[in-house]
Subunit: 352 residues, 4 copies
């Protein structure tokens, strides 16, 4: 289904910071990703799971933050992340109308591992993000089941597949086939190396607006029905790092996802749910913490610009990664999205 | 199961503004409420539906706002209401772990009435609020089904039942049996009368902290397990009016729900998801609006204090209404919550 | 001018937590307060300075947070506190039209102690809060000068005068004479005692709405011109502690100032600028920090309810402290505000 | 001092929407701009005044919104704009340490035209924005006086000077001389033409990061001291329109200023105060409004994308306008900033 290519395989690199060894969100130690892809008949959809660490997330909550660039979206779980600065489940990505099924799946998953939920202890806050894949997918079918969500969780590993997989199966970007993309950067602080990774579910942008890192714009050869129409769709950006950060610092960093989107040619359109979540594995909040006071390490804020830059660069490159990897796809009712790689072959090498 | 009483039947009145004829949220013309109550075995839960008007809500979206007093909660749909200032589905209330099922029910309900959703037009933003009824209810059973949510929607009418009904079936408040409560106020502006109504799903407050309008505190006669423990639970406050307001004005008004809660003895505890939503039926956003510019009427903001006062008074009284109506209840594992009315009988008439 | 009394001297105590030894914000080690009072002719105004610690605040920035309960106000400096979670100057309180003069005074004060400001290093963010004392004070005179602000800073000490002093000179509260009030609580965490203190500049509330801790309401014997008019004025609430907290935790805590105001009979009126700032002396951000990573201690968030309660109790009691200490005052054009203590003498001991 | 050129004179055009006849914020009928420039000795600073309409702004308040992209800034007046969705004074721009003087000037100006301020009616909320011009200007001199602010107000007209004028006198951008820039777009809705204009005070960006609309980057020929250092400085973006909008719609629109900045090569650096304000002259809030309900016209939100695009395009072009118009400048201690136009002459026409 995909091209087998990554953004860097076709020369698309964003910024000057070095990538991590896998060039994926899994360069952050412990972060795993799994997909469940549904591709049959008029169904082009799925679920993608991002698992922040290998322990019990409800017991050991990563510090986290969310930022809404444009809130035309139906994601779940943001209220509590905003209040408490932490997540307590894996993060699921899916299509807009399947958020309910994925919430329920995360709830049951948490109860299985924590039988005191809703009895001796609090309830659980499932975090589910979504984009509208209705152009290629029969989204009204609500095809994603709880079992599909569980399958994505079960398959999570340090190998991150990209393109038209998982929740990315039916997504579109700038009139091309979109989907899942990822990239990472190595960040050196004092005497140690850390990693900063991003994974996107990319489903935004008007056909004709896509801009490559060198300034050239690329449009689908075949006219797309939404060309110069309203900017619809959505994009979900998930950032992970092992750098110690506070929730406020994370929130400042992930806000710069908007810079990456703007460089790509988007103006964060009205009809787009553009939402970012960031977490750090270096600060964990213990559900059963006994001490009155706890220690945290934070970044010296005078050093934060390198993370702002990393956020902008990785958001930009992860979207290009999704576009390059995705290939073309024909979906429900014969709707078709071309792949970016074909368009790149025909692109003049000089800027118009 | 309930007492058949309202707060005013036992002399509990908040503020000096006159109540509407039904003294319920249904005094706002067009607003209907329906319940689906699940009470069997260890199950004490349900769904409550608030339907803002009798038309197609997706096509005719009431102007709305949300405000989070304390975000230890799992409600769904707030991001889009915050961005666009409108709702486009009925509002469902349920237990914390059944949010997913209710979201899916609202999605299917919207598609049935709007077959273009996710195809020729955008997707839909289901609005679902929740409290944790796990003390009386076997919340891990995830007993609420999509069919239950649909039943609550189907039964919606201008008659508003209160107490241990619908989503209120298994809720607790200040150590007493809580649940659904409602009240309204008549507001005269220039030459016309309007109404302002509130409905709460009340499940908050530490035993011993409840304070009546005259200043007396009331504690359960039987010691409750959460006395002087952390303030847990949650409260959802839904306000409706036919006064023309902007979303910003609505947001300012519903923020004053916190005043009502404070008067009752709460300090908006850490573990409580205290969230308010308000809507007006006097400003409707047309999904298929063709004109570039639209007219709205707003309140002269110099007059807004009366609505701040109404919000504080109705939040306070609606909680007392839930407490008075609810009676006592024994739930899962023999857990018991006494009714407030019994405690009131034994209360000294003078303040200690 | 004042009564020489504190709230506790007339039996007004809020909540059950123990007060600190001084029962003032200066129970937090290092916190100093100074006043400059202007009381001549038609002038009833001044400046109050809160100095978080004895060091160079620009070099050693206390972690801090702000929260706006109702934003009908003209305070300065909030944007940067919100972004960076820290303050870098003393906090000045004054009348609404003198914010500019106090900003400039703080700027010059910072430059004197840090000659690299605006040259080799960044600029400085002055934090100035205000209320409108125009009923008793000729506020149009802009009587406060930079020298007055400097005088308040210079007089700062651990002795905190209350009532009609400093910025509180011309303020009104619930139709009575208001002003500066303070109180503190001792908080024990694991094996150590900490303190949590609040200082208010109290200038809010409609005559007739004041409610004492036992539920009785108190109105001025002489009808006040703003009785049952719009709730105008404002209140500034400054909280200090030596408990280690993050900026997010501080923000959650100071939000509960709204609970204290509601208990007093306020609904956070439209025309009132109700704003809170909190800081901790236990977490300091070094302006010249060299290390990439820094350590912070935070509160185990499961223990935060005691600080929510302390915030509500101290806000409530500090306002009563201002009212009790202030005495009566006649100001510009013969405008008069009675003192609360006189009204308390005539108050029936039983609740009506 | 300046070049006498505008961005379009050297071929720098952003986006495809048509410019207004003046290509300035004054294309919005009634909007006037005035400057007071201080350029002597080591002083390179000033004040710029934006006057939304020719009437009494305190009596007839334009609907407005603010948005903070990065809050490392000291601007004044944002709290009340956020709460009430309106401004009630002209907008002043100046250097960081002169905010206090400009606040006081606006207060006195408002009192002169409204002698009931602080007596029979409320106080007034001055709106003042700032950037740090300390590289070229002796900012510690606090050179701007109240009289300077009044002079800028007095000189306001429909002729908008750009470059190193007013508050822009000492500002820097991407290592070049920055300052004031402006541009506008004509927007046709149904049968009528409207205008949307932006004025920036541009003082942000790291040397070497500037990117032209065609993708080429431009760096100063002479190495600048802050090259690849932290992104400091700030940018203030003021948007005006005669299109009827609500405050929420304005807030959504001005948020897209971040898109314009990102296109220019910025990632909204840590040390930069990047703040936007927008107002519409088509919706006016009457201070003395008598009716309980008022009418407003709003944009059909389905049409808002064109304003998002206009905001991104005008922010981008207004910064380029400031750069092109500013020329080069030598300031305090011989600090020098080259002009962009010189660098453009030497720029290769093909992208590297």
């Amino acid at each position: 289904m995909g091209t087998g290519l990554r953004a860097r395989d076709v020369g698309l690199v964003c910024g000057s910071l070095p990538a991590g060894p896998l060039n994926s969100i899994a360069d952050v130690p412990g972060v795993h990703v799994g997909h469940r892809t549904l591709n049959h008949g008029d169904i082009r959809t799925g679920v993608t799971a991002i698992v922040p660490h290998g322990g019990n997330l409800y017991r050991e909550k990563p510090v986290a933050a969310v930022h809404v660039l444009n809130g035309f979206g139906k994601s779940a779980g943001l209220v509590q992340v905003e209040e408490l600065g932490a997540i307590e489940t894996p993060i699921l990505l899916t299509n807009t109308l399947s958020v309910g099924a994925c919430c329920t799946a995360l709830v049951r998953h948490a109860i299985e591992h924590n039988p005191d939920i809703g009895r001796e202890t609090a309830t659980v806050n499932p975090v589910v993000f979504e984009c509208n894949d209705g152009y290629l997918n029969d989204i009204q079918a609500l095809a994603v089941t709880e079992a599909d969500a569980r399958a994505a969780l079960a398959e999570a590993s340090a190998y991150v597949d990209v393109g038209a997989v998982g929740a990315g199966c039916g997504m579109s970007t700038f009139g091309f086939k979109g989907g899942i993309g990822t990239t990472s950067r190595r960040i050196d602080l004092d005497d140690r190396s850390y990693h900063f990774g991003v994974l996107v579910l990319s489903n935004f942008g008007r056909p004709g607006d896509l801009r490559l890192p060198d300034g050239r714009t690329v449009a689908p050869a075949i006219a797309q029905p939404d060309a110069k129409a309203a900017e619809k769709g959505s994009i979900i950006i998930v950032a992970a790092t092992d750098i110690p950060l506070s929730d406020r610092q994370l929130k400042r960093i992930i806000r710069r996802s908007g810079v990456g989107l703007a460089r790509l040619g988007s103006f964060w359109g009205h009809g787009s749910g553009d939402i970012a979540l960031g977490f750090t594995t270096a600060n964990i909040i213990g559900h059963d913490e006994g001490a009155a006071l706890v220690e945290q390490r934070l970044l010296n804020e005078n050093r934060i610009d390198i993370l702002f830059e990393a956020m902008a660069d990785t958001t930009q490159e992860a979207v290009l990664d999704a576009l390059v990897a995705a290939g073309s796809m024909t979906g429900r009712d014969g709707h078709h999205r071309p792949g970016l790689t074909d368009a790149l072959k025909n692109l003049p090498t000089t800027r118009s």
